[in-house]
Assembly symmetry: C2
Homo-oligomer: 541 residues x 2
C-alpha cells in the first residue's frame, strides 16, 4: 500500500529557493585580491540565474558535465547551484592535481565547459590542447594578470554576465536521483575515480549536517570552509550552509595562517573547517587573536594529533574537532561530538575521546568486518576490522569504471580504513587496509610503527610498507628521514623500536631517505615507495 504524500523531490533547487525566500539578506563574504566582497543570498540567487542563462546560451547538453576550476568564491558557490538546477553535472576540478591527472579527469568526465579563475588559468592553459571535449573556457576575472591563452574556446565570464539573459532554475530537475556533481578521488593506485552525487544525496547530506551529530549548522552561524569546494565535495558546506540560512565566509586564494586568522576574527566566524596543516600553522598566532565567536573548528583529511587539538584548547578554550569521511561518502561519515555519556569526564579524558572522529552520523551506518568478508565484528573498542559504510549519500560505484573491489558483496562501501568501534559508537581508525602487514597470520599496523618512528627526536618523516617474506608472508620495512643537523644509525632506531614494540612487530630493516614521496594532495605516497623498492630484499632473507 502506497502512502498519500506529495511527490516533492529532494532537489538542490529547493535549497537555493529556500535560501532566497527565507534568508535573502544573509551574507556571502568573499576575500579577493583587493579586499572583502560582500553579497547576500539574494545576490547569489541572481548570480545562479545568470549562470543558468549562460549555460543555456552556451548550448551545454541537457546532462552535460561542466567543470569548475576555482578557489572558494561566490561565483564557485553559484556554480554548485546553476549547474545541477539546470540538469547538468558539476565536475569540481581539483587544482592540486598533477597535469596528467587533470587531463585524465577532464576528458573522462567529458566536460563541455570549464569555469576557471583567471588566477588559476596558468595551471590549465598549457593543458588546453589536450582537453579535447571542452568547447568553452569561461574565464572568471579575479584581478590576476594571467595572460589569456590563444584558444578560440576562451570567453569572458563578465562579458557573458553582461550580455546573456537570466535562465530558469525552477522545475528543471524532477527526479531526485539525477546526477548533480562529480568529484574525483585519487586512490593509491591508477587514475582518479569519479564519484557521482545525486540531488537526493546532496540534499540529505545537507539536512543531516543541520543536526547535532554533524555540525548543527543554524542561521546564526558564519561558516568558513577553508576546505576547497573541489576537495571531497567541499564537505557539503555549499549546500548545508544555505539550507541552514548560515552566512558564508569564503577565503578565496589566501590560505595563509595570518590571512585566515584575520578573517576568522574580523568576520566572527562560528564554524571553520579544514585539514590539520591549516590549524597547525595557526597555533603560534592564536594568542593574539579574538576568536570568541568560534564554536566549531573541524578538521578532516587525516587524523588530528591530540597535541594539536589540545594546543587550540589551551590557547582559546576550544579544542579542534575531528571529522571522518571520504569523497565516496559526500564526504561526511562522522564528526566528533560529545555524547551525553562523556559530558562529565575530565578535560584530559575528553581529549582522548577527541582523537576519535565521533559516532556514525545520523543517516550513515558503519560496521567493521573481518577484511575480505561480510562477517561483522563487535563494537568492543578492541577488535579491529575493515570499516564499511552504507547510507543514502554513500557511493555505489564510480563513473564509467568497474571497481567491484571497493564494495562488499552486500553493497556496503569498503572504506579501506581499519578501525575499532567502541561500545559508545566512537570510531577509532587504526590503519588503512592497504597499509597493513600480515606477518605469520597476524596483522601489524604500519601507522603505529610510523607514529613511533616519527616520535624519535632525530626523525622528521617515516613510512612503513609490507615486503614479501618467504616464511612470514609479509614483513614490515621502514623508511625514515633524518632531521637536518641530526644523526641516528639503523641500529639505534631498531633498538628504540624494540623497546616500544613486540619483537615480531619491529621492522626487519630501516632505509634512510631524503624525503617521503607525496601525492598531489600532499599525503605520504607509500605506493611510490612500494614501487621503487619492489625488488628490495630484506637483509634477513
Amino acid at each position: 500500500m502506497q502512502g498519500l504524500i506529495q511527490d516533492a523531490p529532494l532537489t538542490i533547487e529547493t535549497i537555493i529557493r529556500r535560501a532566497e525566500r527565507v534568508f535573502p539578506t544573509r551574507e556571502i563574504v568573499t576575500k579577493t585580491a583587493t579586499g572583502l566582497e560582500r553579497n547576500t543570498y539574494q545576490d547569489l540567487a541572481t548570480e545562479v540565474r545568470k549562470q543558468a542563462g549562460i549555460l543555456d546560451h552556451l548550448g551545454i547538453s541537457e546532462d552535460g558535465r561542466v567543470a569548475s576550476f576555482s578557489w572558494n568564491t561566490m561565483r564557485h558557490l553559484a556554480l554548485y547551484y546553476s549547474v545541477p538546477c539546470t540538469g547538468r553535472v558539476l565536475h569540481t576540478g581539483n587544482i592540486r592535481y598533477f597535469p596528467e591527472q587533470l587531463v585524465y579527469t577532464f576528458n573522462h568526465a567529458e566536460d563541455e565547459a570549464v569555469f576557471v579563475d583567471r588566477s588559476l588559468l596558468g595551471l590549465l592553459a598549457p593543458l588546453l590542447p589536450q582537453l579535447t571535449t571542452l568547447k568553452h573556457v569561461v574565464v572568471m576575472d579575479d584581478g590576476a594578470p594571467t595572460p589569456l591563452p590563444e584558444d578560440p574556446r576562451v570567453v569572458s565570464y563578465e562579458q557573458l554576465l553582461a550580455e546573456v539573459e537570466e535562465g530558469a532554475i525552477e522545475g528543471r530537475v524532477t527526479d531526485e536521483r539525477t546526477a548533480a556533481g562529480i568529484c574525483y578521488t585519487s586512490g593509491t593506485t591508477g587514475n582518479p575515480k569519479g564519484v557521482v552525487y545525486t540531488h537526493r544525496s546532496q540534499y540529505l547530506h545537507a539536512l543531516a549536517s543541520l543536526s547535532g551529530t554533524l555540525f548543527g549548522t543554524n542561521d546564526r552561524d558564519r561558516v568558513l570552509p577553508v576546505v576547497p569546494f573541489f576537495h571531497a565535495n567541499g564537505w557539503g558546506f555549499a549546500h548545508s550552509s544555505l539550507l541552514a540560512g548560515a552566512n558564508m565566509i569564503l577565503p578565496g586564494p589566501d590560505l595563509s595562517p595570518a590571512g585566515l586568522i584575520t578573517l576568522l576574527e574580523s568576520e566572527k566566524v562560528t564554524i571553520a573547517a579544514g585539514v590539520p596543516t591549516i590549524w597547525m600553522g595557526m597555533v603560534p598566532l592564536l594568542e593574539d587573536a579574538d576568536l570568541s565567536a568560534l564554536r566549531v573548528v573541524v578538521c578532516g583529511g587525516s587524523a588530528v594529533p591530540k597535541s594539536l587539538s589540545e594546543a587550540w584548547r589551551e590557547a582559546i578554550g576550544l579544542p579542534i574537532t575531528q571529522a571522518w569521511g571520504m569523497t565516496e561518502m559526500s564526504p561526511l561519515g562522522s564528526v566528533f561530538n560529545e555524547r551525553a555519556e562523556i559530558a562529565d569526564l575530565s578535560e584530559e579524558e575528553k581529549a582522548d575521546y577527541r582523537t576519535s572522529p565521533g559516532i556514525p552520523a545520523v543517516g550513515v551506518e558503519l560496521r567493521i568486518v573481518e577484511p575480505g568478508t561480510t562477517d561483522e565484528l563487535p563494537w568492543d573498542g578492541v577488535t579491529t576490522g575493515e570499516l564499511e559504510a552504507r547510507g543514502p549519500w554513500i557511493a555505489s560505484g564510480y563513473y564509467k569504471v568497474e571497481d567491484s573491489g571497493s564494495f562488499s558483496p552486500d553493497g556496503w562501501l569498503r572504506t579501506g580504513d581499519i578501525a575499532a568501534i567502541e561500545p559508545l559508537g566512537y570510531v577509532r581508525i587504526v590503519d588503512r587496509t592497504k597499509d597493513l602487514v600480515k606477518s605469520g597470520g597476524e596483522w601489524i599496523s604500519t601507522v603505529a610503527i610510523e607514529n613511533l618512528i616519527m616520535g624519535h627526536p632525530s626523525i622528521s618523516e617515516a613510512a612503513v610498507v609490507a615486503v614479501p617474506h618467504p616464511k612470514w608472508g609479509e614483513r614490515p620495512l621502514a623508511f625514515a628521514v633524518v632531521k637536518e643537523g641530526e644523526s641516528v644509525t639503523k641500529e639505534e632506531l631498531l633498538g628504540y623500536l624494540g623497546d616500544n614494540l613486540g619483537k615480531w612487530q619491529v621492522p626487519d630493516d630501516v632505509v634512510f631517505i631524503d624525503e617521503v614521496p607525496k601525492t598531489s594532495v600532499g599525503k605520504f605516497s607509500k605506493k611510490t615507495l612500494r614501487e621503487e623498492y619492489a625488488d628490495y630484499k630484506l637483509p634477513t632473507v
Copy 2:
C-alpha cells in the same frame, strides 16, 4: 544522467536500527498506575521484535491496517515500529473521538487488529459489535480493572508476548513510499479523513526535527510528549526522539498538571510538548518546581496567548514556544525559533514575535495566496491570504476519499488558515478560511473579534460566525458566555467593541449562550453554532 549512490531507502527500520545500535542504553520511562517503568532502547527493540512476531502470528495481511488505542507508553511506541517495519500500516486510534467517529474510522481503515490499553477498553468494548473488520482485539494490561468483554476476538497481549517467537523487522520494507501510518483528522464538516504517511515522510520529518528550525533534538535531550501519540502523528516524537538518541519520558494516562510537573522535575525533562490547556493548568505550580533542565516547552493545536507564554517566562525564565502544523503535515510546518535578526531585541519585543509559530521549517515551503486562486501574495507582514504548504511530508490526498478542494490546482495543501507572512518569514495566523466574514468585499477576522470579546472582564467564552446579509453579503454575529456572577448587556458589549474596532467590523448582534459548543477534541465548534442559528435573522435586516 543518474548518479551512483547507494539505493538506501529512508525507512522506519533504519531509525530503530540506529537507536538499538548506537544508543542501546538510552531510557524510555513510562508512568504507570503503579509507578515509573524504566526501559532502554535495547528493551524497546526487543519489544518491537516481539510485536512483529505477534503480528505475523495473528496472520495480519501483508499491508493490513493495525490500530492502536493507547496512552503514551513504551508498548504504544513499539507499535510505531513493529507495524510499519513489517509492512503493515499503523492506525493510531483517537481515544477522544465520539463513538460514531471511532466506528467510522476503524471500519474505514479496515483495521484487522487493535492493540488496546485495558484502561481504555471501556470506550471500545461497547462498539466492538460494530467494528466488523477487526479480527483481533489485543488487550494490553495496564493494571486497570476493566472487565474483558465477551468477544471471541479478545486476546491477551501478555500471553502473546510469552508464547510467540520474535519476528523480523529487517529488510521487509524496501520502497520508502510504502504506507507506514494512518492518522484521521476531524474536519469542520463530515467524517474524519485519513492521512496516510509513508516511511519516507516519517523519516524526513524526523530528520528535520533534529535541526534548529524545529526542535534541534539531540542525544542529551529527555523528551516528554504530552501530546498523545494518536493526535496528529504525535508530532513525530516517536520517530525524532529515537533518531536523535534522546531519552523519552511517557506520561501514560496521568495528564494532570500536578502529575506532569512532578514528571518534568524528577525526570529532568528538556523538551516538553502539548496543547495550551496543559501549560495553562501548570502555571500556578511553576513557582515551587525546579524545571531548570527544560530548554523547550512547545505548544500547538491552537494559538498560544502571549500572556501564557510570558507567565512561563516570568515564573521559570523559559517562554512557551509555539508550533504550527496539521495532521496533513506530519504535522510540523513551523516551530518558533529566534532568528539571528531578532536575537538582540528586548524581551517585550521578543514576546510579540513568540506569538508567531515561526518561519517555515526546513523541508517545508509555505505561501499565501488570494483565497481560491494560486496567485501568490507578498511576504510583507500585512497582506493576508490563504496559507498553503508543499513538501516531502505534506499530504497529497486522503485515504479512500476524494477531496480535491483541500489541494490547490498545482498540488499545494490548502491549510485553511488565513495568514500574513513577515519579511523575515514569521507566519501570523489570523483566521481560518471558513471563519472569515466577507462584508462588502472586505474580509473581517472573526478570531480578532473573539479575542477582543474574551478580553472583556465579564466574558469567559466567545465565538463569531458569518450570517448572510442582503446588502453586505455577510455580517458577523457574536456569541458570548457571561462569567458566573457577572453581568453585561448586549449594548455594553457592542459599545466596548465599537471602542476597539472599525465601525464596519462590529458584529450586528450578540447572542448570550451558556457555553460555546465543543468538538470531540475540545475545540470551539463554530460549525454547530452555524447549524443551530441557520435561520437566525440579524436585527438590522
